[in-house]
């Protein structure tokens, strides 16, 4: 196990995997910007880039102007897909070859799966779901949330290597002119035991049922109120489904749901058949990042409202003016019947198209 390294001169490895088209994602370029900023803030530190994928030259060219002192790549068919047993060999090779003391990577599902294992293998430590990286008195520190986004901590470490998984959407992406990068190729040895898992493909909802859109400008949060008895004393799940899907189709918003509504759908009740646990936001769901959020028929206290902790502008439609989902959490609370409002919203959006 390597001894602790407290030198402020760090070797900062920006670690990214390529997308299926060979490019680097927005999340990867955000991590590169953070890595570059940290290198600048820590005098004497150096930035190196490590890339993994089926082919990495075009990704390296994409960031050729990022001032990395070295570009290293682990490439080949074995690294085209996201698999723990081969990815960890690639990451370990890159970290050892560069003698990285800090590794900054985007918190993609691929890196989320493997980097903690890599940190363990290299005798280092890891912080995931990091939202900011900064320096204080010449020491790097990271910000992350604890207890499901209910409290925020700033952490500093002396143990190296220090792996940092930066959540997407927390900072600007690196921009710069492409060029021609000189990539040092690394070819770690994979054995049969590294290839026992094969990636067979992806399952995704059909195009008209696609309700989760991470890049959408708007998050639409539907609560269990959509399934409750309305003013005529009866529930109207079919109309609720039409209104929500109609709105998503026209606005291209991403759909979030409260736990109570997802649970109702999961219990086989005839409500909102397109709703799954993947839509759930909040305590046991996701906390997506979107510029705007519109919550409808959502109820609940503080622990449940963390689902839109990272939404910048928030509005809510609810019949209860004292609802904790909105009071103090939303910028605007419309006290109204969501069915009536969304019927008209959909009509107005249709006119605009």
């Amino acid at each position: 196990m390597p001894p602790p390294n407290t030198s402020p001169m760090e070797t900062i490895l920006f670690l990214a995997h390529t997308e299926s088209d060979g490019s680097l994602s927005q999340a990867a370029r955000e991590s590169l910007a953070a890595a570059k900023d940290l290198t600048t803030a820590l005098a004497g530190s150096v930035l190196v880039a490590g890339l993994v994928g089926a082919e990495v030259q075009s990704a390296a060219n994409q960031i050729a102007g990022c001032a990395a002192t070295r570009f290293l790549g682990v490439a080949g068919p074995d690294y085209a897909t996201s698999r723990y047993s081969s990815d960890i060999v690639a990451v370990e090779s890159l970290a050892r070859t560069t003698a990285a003391t800090i590794v900054i990577a985007p918190a993609t599902s691929r890196w989320n799966r493997v980097l903690a294992g890599a940190a363990q293998r290299l005798g280092g430590r890891i912080d995931s779901h990091v939202t900011a990286i900064a320096t204080e008195d010449g020491q790097p520190g990271i910000t992350r949330w604890y207890y499901r986004q209910r409290m925020e901590g700033i952490v500093q470490r002396t143990r190296r290597p220090w792996f940092i998984l930066l959540d997407p959407g927390c900072g600007g992406a690196w921009t710069g002119a492409p060029g021609l990068a000189q990539v040092e190729s690394i070819s770690p040895v994979l054995t049969d035991s590294n290839k026992r898992t094969t990636v067979a493909g992806f399952q995704s909802p059909s195009a008209d049922q696609q309700t989760i859109r991470p890049d959408a400008k708007l998050l639409f949060v539907a609560g269990a109120g959509w399934t409750k008895a309305q003013s005529d004393g009866k529930p109207h799940p079919e109309e609720a489904e039409q209104l929500i899907l109609g709105f998503l189709a026209q606005s291209k918003a991403s759909l979030g749901s409260t736990k109570s509504l997802v649970d109702l759908s999961g219990e086989g009740q005839e409500v909102l058949k397109f709703m799954t646990h993947l839509n759930q936001v909040g305590q046991t769901g996701s906390t997506p990042r979107h510029p705007k959020g519109l919550a409808t028929c959502c109820h609940g206290e503080e622990p449940h409202t963390v689902g839109w902790r990272f939404i910048n502008e928030r509005r809510a439609v609810n019949l209860n003016p004292n609802c904790s989902w909105a009071q103090g959490k939303a910028d605007v609370l419309y006290v109204a019947d969501a069915f009536a409002v969304m019927r008209k919203v959909n009509a107005l959006l249709a006119e605009r198209h």
Binding site: A116, R121, I126, S128, H129, R150, G153, T198
Partner: protein, 270 residues
């Protein structure tokens, strides 16, 4: 011929999500105010993992489930009174912190050590389950480290479905970006699976299962070894609650049509 799986579930306890949480500073780092007084529950994702494990064991005769849990002994006892009513398992308890501020590497080392003490473990039948994150640390890093310490390099995170085959291979659906699932097939065990929600509802209480479990739960709690978690090399500069409270404009007197017009304008605004 069904395979008699050995399924080890790693799961800790967390504060009941409806409790108000407040951080405090202690000589050993941050903690929760009145932490020992807060009612606890089994971590929700670990709960999903446990229910999936029990379902897999039920479908494959001869399988067995162990629950390896780190937490203050009193908290574990409180939580096990409830969890033990749900599904059959054998508890391996470790008397340590359940704090979200403790190091995942330290907890992983304790879990791996405890797993190694289970007699008769057979890698060709071994699944190690856990939640893909916890509701305390929320890092999603512990299970991978447990796997590394046990030498298991077929690992999957954000799992929603596991399908096993009679030849010992299995297929896994993992959550990836954009609401999609990655489909992976693995030819043989052992494997580590960090579960997301899966697809199973919480099982109802079964007093017979509870009575059976409690025969081993209480001795396991009595045998629980104390765990001291190191904080060497990590410093918390601060831990605080988010302070921002928005000034909410409450609109009560607009018609649905007028509200809709306002919302559509707001959505369209860059």
């Amino acid at each position: 011929m069904p395979i008699p799986y050995q399924i080890i579930v790693c799961g800790s306890v967390v504060p009941d999500p409806l409790q108000t949480l407040e951080p405090i500073a202690t000589p050993t780092g941050p903690a929760l105010k009145n932490e020992l007084m807060l009612p606890a529950v089994l971590d929700p994702w670990a709960g999903h993992a446990l229910f999936e494990a029990a379902n897999l064991a039920k479908q494959n005769a001869g399988s067995k489930v162990w629950l390896v849990s780190v937490g203050p002994k009193a908290k574990l006892q409180q939580v096990m009174m409830t969890v033990a009513q749900k599904v059959p398992f054998e508890l391996i308890a470790i008397d340590g912190p359940s704090s979200g501020f403790s190091e995942s590497a330290e907890i992983a080392a304790a879990l791996a050590s405890a797993i190694r003490t289970i007699p008769g473990l057979d890698n060709s039948r071994l699944f190690v389950f856990g939640g893909w994150e916890s509701a305390s640390r929320g890092a999603g890093t512990t299970m991978q480290m447990v796997g590394e310490l046990l030498g298991i390099t077929d690992q999957f995170q954000g799992v929603d479905r596991l399908t096993v085959s009679a030849d010992g291979s299995f297929e896994v659906l993992e959550r990836v970006e954009g609401g999609k699932h990655q489909v992976s097939r693995c030819s043989a065990l052992p494997a580590v699976l960090g579960w997301a929600t899966g697809n199973l509802p919480e099982p109802p209480n079964n007093p017979q299962v509870g009575m059976l479990n409690m025969r081993t739960v209480m001795p396991a709690l009595q045998r629980a070894k104390p765990l001291k978690v190191s904080t060497d090399g990590v410093a918390f500069a601060s831990v605080s609650l988010p302070k921002q409270r928005r000034s909410t404009r409450i609109v009560k007197d607009l018609s649905p049509d007028a509200i809709a017009g306002e919302i559509v304008e707001w959505i369209a605004k860059e």
